[in-house]
């Protein structure tokens, strides 16, 4: 990585309505993680298990918004991070969870908890601790400003590496053929 940065950048990551596939792909940069860790240190992230988000230089978010807690975490990331990166198809357009947007939420809850085969007298969970589902799954940029996007399902390790290199180097990410993939 060709960067001219003195102290390590603080990076937080999280998965909202995602599958952790993008995090797996981040780990898939393999031995390049040693180069990366020279430049950054992780704050809140599933990789550190730190629960509280501190002030960060970069926030990387996988997954879209499917419930109120997702929106809360996203806003917290926007407040605490100078640069916010949406990673993966779900963060960028809702992805697989957004396939439910064709149906009404009431109908989905009915089917999942009441009317599906094998459910005996199922109840729709209503514990006040459970975050309320949103009527529609949304992409991150529809709620807060997102600085950079890394598309892919998941983006390949090489795609993530190139994008992070560009961003850490202060450049607009330019992926080019083979690295820019939506699938």
């Amino acid at each position: 990585m060709n960067t001219v940065i003195g102290k390590k950048l603080k990076v937080a990551t999280t998965s909202l309505a995602g599958c952790f596939g993008c995090h797996m792909s981040l780990l898939d940069i393999d031995e390049r993680l040693f180069d990366l860790i020279e430049l950054i240190e992780f704050d809140r992230s599933p990789l550190t298990d730190i629960k509280e988000l501190g002030s960060c230089d970069i926030g990387i978010i996988e997954g879209g918004l499917c419930n109120a807690e997702n929106v809360h975490v996203l806003r917290e990331f926007r407040r605490q991070c100078k640069i916010l990166i949406a990673i993966g198809a779900c963060a960028i357009n809702g992805g697989l969870p957004a396939q439910r947007n064709q149906l009404s939420l009431a109908l989905i809850l009915q089917e999942v908890y009441h009317t599906s085969v094998g459910l005996a007298n199922g109840l729709i969970p209503n514990d006040p601790e459970l975050p309320l589902p949103l009527a529609k799954v949304r992409a991150l940029h529809e709620v807060v400003n997102i600085d950079y996007f890394i598309p892919g399902c998941p983006p390949s390790a090489d795609t993530i590496w190139k994008a992070l290199n560009d961003i850490l180097g202060g450049r607009e990410p330019e992926l080019g053929h083979g690295l820019i993939q939506y699938d």
């Binding site: 357009n93 992409a139 053929h177």
Partner: protein
């Protein structure tokens, strides 16, 4: 009669009756496009092929080439406008590439790659567009329709079946099946029809042949769309 004009400073030869995009593609100059297809009369609706001719915007698929024209195409300003148009197409439909059989063979996706589209930028409409699975061989997934009218033109001009039409106006424009029931099963469309194969996106899907070529080895995985002389022919071979 024939002559020459320039695109981005490159000299391009044309013969009388050729449009700018025809002459450009023949000379190996890529101009982004979605509703243009070399075998059909231009429709001029997607506007992605918009270029500047002597300083003025015009669709290169409908404008006839003329001697000594000065055409600008691959400029940051025009590509920004093309990317914006592409982003609007993405949010107006339901384009979920990871679960689409056409991913990698899709001109909309490949054009977005070419233009460096990192997100759809705008709020997604998530429109409700039920699929038509009535036909035994062909699935119609309207979620991906970009209203290029290629299936309409192919069915009317090549298949002589007139099985499709664009209906409604403005944002309400949508593709319909020309049958009293509105179902594809109640038309005489067959798997052999040009209309079934001409779709630049993933509306027409063959039912018994899913994921024949793995993701990563598809037409636009191998080469960017700009590197194909005839990208339409390349995806129709699949």
């Amino acid at each position: 009669m024939s002559g020459r004009f320039t695109i981005d400073g490159k000299i391009v030869a044309f013969t009388e009756g050729q449009t700018i995009i025809q002459a450009a593609l023949a000379a190996g100059v890529y101009i982004p496009h979605l509703c243009y297809h070399p075998e059909f009369k231009p429709h001029g609706s997607c506007k992605l092929c918009t270029v500047k001719v002597d300083g003025r915007h015009t669709a290169s698929c409908t404008m006839l080439a003329q001697a000594d024209m000065v055409v600008e195409s691959n400029t940051p300003a025009l590509n920004d406008e093309r990317r914006t148009l592409t982003q609007m197409l993405f949010v107006e439909g339901n384009h979920f590439c990871p679960s689409c059989e056409k991913s990698g063979d899709c001109k909309l996706q490949a054009t977005a790659y070419e233009l460096g589209m990192m997100s759809a930028h705008y709020d997604h409409f998530f429109p409700k567009r039920p699929v038509d699975a009535s036909h035994p061989d062909v699935l119609l997934d309207f979620n991906r329709c970009i209203l290029c009218s290629l299936c309409v033109r192919a069915s009317r001009d090549v298949d002589r079946k007139n099985a499709f039409a664009l209906c409604g106006r403005g944002i309400h424009t949508h593709l319909i099946v020309n049958a009293k029931s509105g179902r594809l099963a109640d038309t005489d469309v067959t798997l052999q029809d040009k209309a079934v194969h001409v779709c630049p996106v993933g509306v027409f899907l063959r039912k018994d042949k899913g994921f024949n070529v793995p993701i990563g080895r598809r037409v636009f995985d191998l080469k960017p769309i700009s590197a194909y002389v005839d990208a339409s022919a390349a995806i129709e071979k699949e």
